[in-house]
Symmetry: D2
Subunit: 351 residues, 4 copies
């Protein structure tokens, strides 16, 4: 059994880590942290887990690096950005392997961090050693990673579908539009007015446009895939779901599509590209052009759904992806990274 701890377990992605790791057959959760709940057990804070024997034993403790390093080999950080880096530094020094779910180590450039997050990076020296926590595309590097910067929720819904297409050169990397819809848990467990029930129910609205923070991370990864600097359009919306992100992409294919025949050829090329890239993957569901993603099919699952239509009228690819923002967009994907790091089969605890 590998000993793990979760720092910041009282938020939604922390709670999702608890949910999944309690059922992980190779893991023992030795501690979880929360300033608010220190002294209680996991079962007391989350009645929903109280029937699980382990939950009645796991203590909430204060977020102390020394204590965490004593208790666990792997520490998941489900903390606000900024706060996560402060804890990551001492944890790494003490020899822990760290999986950070915040944005703190996702960017390779401290300047980009400053531009998008509005403050100096708290530990720029670590940026170069962090591995981006997107297993399908960083599998090899993750195995030996000391510090994993788990991919964000929107970035996951965007990068998993786009990277193979860009790498294979079947789409134009420029001019891509990603129009995303997110459930409200994406905003975290925060008592802020825009997120109270009556402000979200029966509401659909955009926010954070045109330059949402996640763009920094998305464009970094797309640029790496394309081999040159890429800009993209990203429009997040809030809709009345608990969980789920649906992203609709508008993309120009590399081969020109002008009619039904070229559209079908383009569609087949997409299908082959995904087969090559993800044909053996356990968590990627390719609908091709015969089905369409739906967030409800990803609920509490680590799967990324991908589907598309090639439009012979406009020549564009309409690509779609669906994920659960808390599972694949945060905690499930983090555990997938952990499995790679710890040498367990990648799907352990996630099926």
């Amino acid at each position: 059994m590998t000993k793990v701890a979760i720092a910041g377990a009282s938020g939604y992605s922390g709670e999702e880590l608890v949910r999944l790791l309690l059922r992980h057959p190779e893991v023992e959760i030795t501690a979880v942290t929360s300033r608010q709940y220190a002294g209680k057990t996991c079962a007391e804070v989350f009645p929903k887990f109280a029937h699980l024997e382990a939950a009645r034993r796991i203590p909430f403790i204060l977020p102390d690096a020394e204590e965490l390093a004593r208790l666990a080999e792997y520490v998941f950080l489900a903390l606000p950005h900024g706060v996560a880096a402060e804890l990551a530094v001492p944890l790494l020094e003490k020899g822990c392997r760290v999986l950070d779910l915040s944005a703190d180590f996702r960017l390779r450039s401290a300047a980009t961090y400053l531009e998008f997050y509005g403050k100096e990076h708290p530990a720029p020296e670590l940026l170069s050693q962090a591995i981006y926590g997107q297993p399908e595309n960083y599998r090899a590097q993750l195995k030996d990673a000391k510090l994993v910067a788990c991919a964000g929720c929107y970035p996951t819904s965007i990068l998993v579908p786009l990277i193979p297409l860009i790498k294979a050169g079947v789409i134009e990397p420029e001019g891509i539009i990603a129009d995303s819809l997110s459930g409200v848990s994406g905003a975290g467990r925060k008592a802020d007015m825009p997120f109270i029930y009556c402000e979200c129910n029966e509401s659909a609205r955009p926010y954070g446009i045109p330059k949402h923070r996640h763009l920094s991370e998305i464009e970094q990864e797309l640029s790496l895939a394309a081999g040159r600097q890429i800009l993209m359009q990203f429009t997040p919306h809030l809709i009345p779901l608990n969980r789920g992100i649906l992203t609709t992409f508008y993309i120009t294919p590399s081969r020109r599509v002008t009619d039904a025949k070229t559209a079908a050829e383009c569609s087949q090329e997409l299908y082959r590209t995904y087969q090559d890239a993800y044909g053996e993957e356990s968590f990627i569901r390719i609908y091709g052009d015969e089905g369409l993603p739906d967030t409800k099919n990803t609920l509490m699952s680590n799967v990324v759904e991908i589907g598309w239509k090639v439009d012979p009228r406009t020549g564009r690819i309409i690509l779609l992806s669906a994920i659960d923002n808390l599972t694949r967009g945060a905690s499930g994907q983090a555990i997938q990274c952990f499995n790679l790091m710890a040498g367990y089969p990648e799907t352990t605890g996630l099926l």
Copy 2:
């Protein structure tokens, strides 16, 4: 045109007052108050009203009694309890007629206020002159009222159906159970953790039992109707609706019900009693035993729906009511009171 003002217009019942009074043909809203929004117009704070010419003129001001009294003859208070009384006192002194939507003046006894609200009543000398703002049952007194204590949302859903039955003696006033379901707007526009979207969506839960504050007001009015002290059971629940209260009552009829025939007679007696009490009312919808209330049929309406089944197996009456907690449970009913006070037809602006 009668000049009115609304103190505390940034909460949900304040906003609902704005929505309704903007369309009231005999009213001019001269000011609304909010510490947070003072200096803006109603249209700026509520984009949803910005296409209405009046909303672009109505200013948000600070809650100053002198200024309010200068601007308006009638002042609606949509403020937290305690705060409402503080403003009501000087407004009354300056000659305004006040419609208070808080709980401050609903109880006749300052001791009961202390018991249920946990602090000394801020203006006990006014309790005796306040008229309870439940028009169907206090119509005569409301006409000349200076201070109206508008009935609460749960109390309205409970008292409107019960009072005629108790007064007519067709039910046992003892032992009544009211099991209520409320939409989340009932908690107000408050950024508190239990009311954020993901804590309410896909959740049904009781709260505030067994002694919710509204019991004080409900039992006061039931006792007045019965002519003796009455206790009742009241169980509020929160369910994922924006608006609406559904109350299910369990009641013992005065005449014994033992079979289908006596059940039918009991049902007819209920029907006659309601016809006598509410047959001429504009806002009471009596389904009898042939239909059942549904909150969605009361959305944004001042109607109280009432239906029932008499159970020949158990001998009980299962009575049901549905209202919109913000319209009939707060602002619509307050305007109905206002119409009475100002001498307008009672339904003005409410159909």
Copy 3:
């Protein structure tokens, strides 16, 4: 009082016509039709309207043209496409003025109807005389119209924002993308599996892509505005709302945007264009780049909300609109057309 009838009043847009016309001060609803409910009153079929005296009188009758023509001067058709045309023909012959909410008369070309609706147009001879029911852009023609083809819900959310920009030449009419989110009432009151509660709640999904029927109508009108044939990309999605359409547009401005300064200039040009086109309109809310549309601000209102951001990084305009699909997207807009036809102030019954 002008006498009107509603054919097909049992669906959602029919019910919304009833809701609005019951409150219209210049209108008497003399009959509504439904094969299922013929013989009942409006109050019996819709308990929510039963407290309105008129609703207790209005009869549901069979959809007979002769009877409708006898009872009403204006007939609203809230019927499925195909069925609407069959009733429109005899009603027009008998001298009624007809407002059709179906798709039957929206297309000028019977060939396009065949292409998109899969059957021969039932009354092609009427296509040339139908006026497109989008008041802000067809006001003059609507005044004398005998037959109004009310704009569809998605088309309204798309055309109202786009037409002034295209006419003024400030955007490229080619390559526009409209990504729309619709509440479930857009599918009508139909007992189909994809629309039952548990299939829609906690679900976000695209459908009908890449060639939804409404494209025919949208492209027809955009082409008329541009003076040449225009194709566009349209991606509808279903999200868990009762009512509302939010459309996000991706548009290339005519003037090149490369930095913050040119983006600001472009934004000002959009603002001026909308001021010129809609500055005097009662039902168009222009946020400019300082606010963003939200479906909840249009609930049960005839308003179209429009906002935008010009992105200096990508050079694109992100334009957004929000409407209530049943009010502005169907019945409210139909009544706005009716007001024009009947010579009433355009906002009558709609504020």
Copy 4:
């Protein structure tokens, strides 16, 4: 690996059986049936399971008893009542052990079946051998059962909390009221008008009162527990949840409660009674009087939550329970029964 089949896998409880049994470590699903989907695989019908290797192999077949008996030792029936019995008879004859999730074998009396279900029982000879599928209270008998009549969803939410209290004599078995709120999946995957999204969203309403079919099963079991014939009041409501039942009970304790002290004693007696009955149970969560059930804490879990308040004012116990209607109310509980029958630890596949 034990071979099991599921008849009627296309409904919600069938799908929930598939979800849970795919993850059950001791089970192989060899076939699932559906007239509509025969010939497809489980992965084709339910994309959400397509990433699981087993789902890609499991065939949908026609509901043929011979074939099912050839393929499986245990057959779960997730079919409408009436239809279930028709398949159960030949399956039992061929030696299968049958877990029926319908109401067909829950009643011991064919006359009661006729009274509540309106038709003759299709296989009355089997009623005496069926074991009621409520594991906490029928554990011993379930081990050797050939035919299990899995408890209904409402009955589970009602009987699990009540039976220990009645058996221990700490409450009056007469006069109990159970007021239940159910999510819409309780109505099944049926394309009926009352269950389409817009009829359920923003709606709270009672139905099936005062004599819902589940009363027959509830009263049978309460009467067995009490040792005499018991009647109870049961009021189901539909609220906008996908999953979940919250039941609020109104109960008279056996010992008289008149003040805070006797209320506390009553509460302690309840606590002791539950500890005696369920203290060792894995799936019963007792809040006592310090917490309150919430459906969201039972989502996709086999747990029954129980909490209460004893009201010193009215002398009543307000008891509450929460379950997931599809997991504990149907498929999870059926698997708990199966584990008992097959000799696996009772929690296998359910934690």
